[in-house]
Subunit: 229 residues, 2 copies
DNA sequence: CCAAAAGTGTTTCACGTACACCCATGC
DNA sequence: GCATGGGTGTACGTGAAACACTTTTGG
């Protein structure tokens, strides 16, 4: 079976930059290519968009197929369409970025026949295609967005300590915060629910656990509230 | 001549939301369709991406062809790919938004065989395809971006008065500003060059003209400066 | 008892905000 | 001379930033 058109059409793909946060480091999931071009090179998970699925669906499907990741925060990032970005033919790719609760879901880093692994964002090797550029864009977007939208919580387990939250922000934004000021500010928004639980199995005083109040955030947002770190 | 592929491919188009600012109002350029589907309806300028041109090039080319507009601020907005957004077949469209110095370049609102016209953003009729949604996205992006990047100047002539600038911000953000505070803030950034010229042909005291210092902005940006209204 | 991180208030300073009057020009 | 918008300074309050010590727990 084949499909014929009057004019040449670019191929259309999706690529996903999947971020996780673990051990005080921001990580990206990469896949080792088992086919040319760029065989053996690391690349972003992604693949062709089917003609009967939306772009979002395609991104989620590829993510699931290639990394086993599902039900995560996923947002469109940018569409790249430079000539020659794929040596075989013209390929336009809609890039997405995803945020996963690494420490919670325990994602299997290897699935399928492929080799998938987490890399610290500062230890990423040279990637296939123009995926370096896409990754850089995603990082930029994450840094910009984390300040004024409560997406940082997508990278933490549902229950977290204020220190974990602070470290997350410090890592993503590459910037230190004062502990007291950070707590004051984040708590003053009234978006965190203080739980009756504390950390377990730590070799020091256990910290209180909190939960992000998504419901409250949606309410406040309607009334003109703006999250801002 | 025709082109054949193993799998079905979506068609790929670009659409442009072109903003202008005139008479204290934010305007969008629309084109009246002369072919089905949506014949006679107003739509965003746009068209198919050729297989040998980048997405940015395609957007600029379509803009030039359909509206005569060239050399403007142009930025990718979002890629829409819902099923059924075009009744004929699957079409994925990369949306762009452009900012033009309306009062300066004097763009011809009608070119080609087509009917092109400026609409106040609050007087836009129901558009073809999902162009309403794209326009709404573009407005949102403009409102968000104008606050923390000096793109407002793209909508003004090269020489402008502080009142013009203030009115632009008030229009885009749908919010009033205090005259003294606005001037204090904008001038304190040191990004405006005070010219030795004043307005001409006004029926009241003529205002001083200013120019945006792009050079200085690029310098400051490198050193970590952030524009913020 | 030592190490490691949790938790907690106050002072200072900068910046945002509110606010009213005189000036220049064209008609 | 009057209508229209141009141009200017100060006082006040809020919120960001700086800063150090005590507490709890496990080993």
């Amino acid at each position: 079976m084949s499909f014929t058109y009057q004019y040449a059409r670019p191929a259309l793909t999706v690529d996903c930059v999947v971020f996780g946060f673990d051990e005080g480091e921001l990580k990206v999931m990469l896949i080792q290519r088992d086919l040319p071009p760029f065989e053996g090179k690391w690349a972003l998970p992604g693949g062709f968009v089917r003609v009967d699925e939306t772009l979002d669906d395609a991104a989620r499907r590829e993510l699931e197929e290639e990394t086993g990741i599902s039900k995560v925060f996923l947002e469109q990032l940018y569409t790249v369409g430079d000539l020659g970005r794929d040596p075989r033919e013209r390929v336009v790719s809609v890039a997405y970025y995803a945020l996963v609760k690494l420490s919670d879901y325990r994602i299997r880093p290897t699935t399928d026949a492929r080799n998938a692994a987490w890399f610290g964002v500062s230890d990423v090797p040279k990637l296939a295609f123009d995926h370096d550029k896409i990754l850089a864009l995603a990082l930029q977007r994450l840094q910009g967005k984390v300040r004024y939208q409560p997406i940082g919580f997508e990278l933490l387990p549902p229950k977290f300590t204020l220190s974990q939250l602070q470290h997350l922000y410090e890592t993503v934004l590459e910037q230190k915060f004062d502990k007291r000021n950070f707590r004051k500010k984040i708590l003053s928004m009234g978006l965190l629910i203080e739980l009756d639980e504390i950390e377990q199995d730590v070799a020091h005083r256990a910290a209180r656990l909190y939960r992000f109040d998504e419901r409250k955030y949606q309410q406040l947002k309607k009334r003109g509230f703006n999250f801002e770190l």
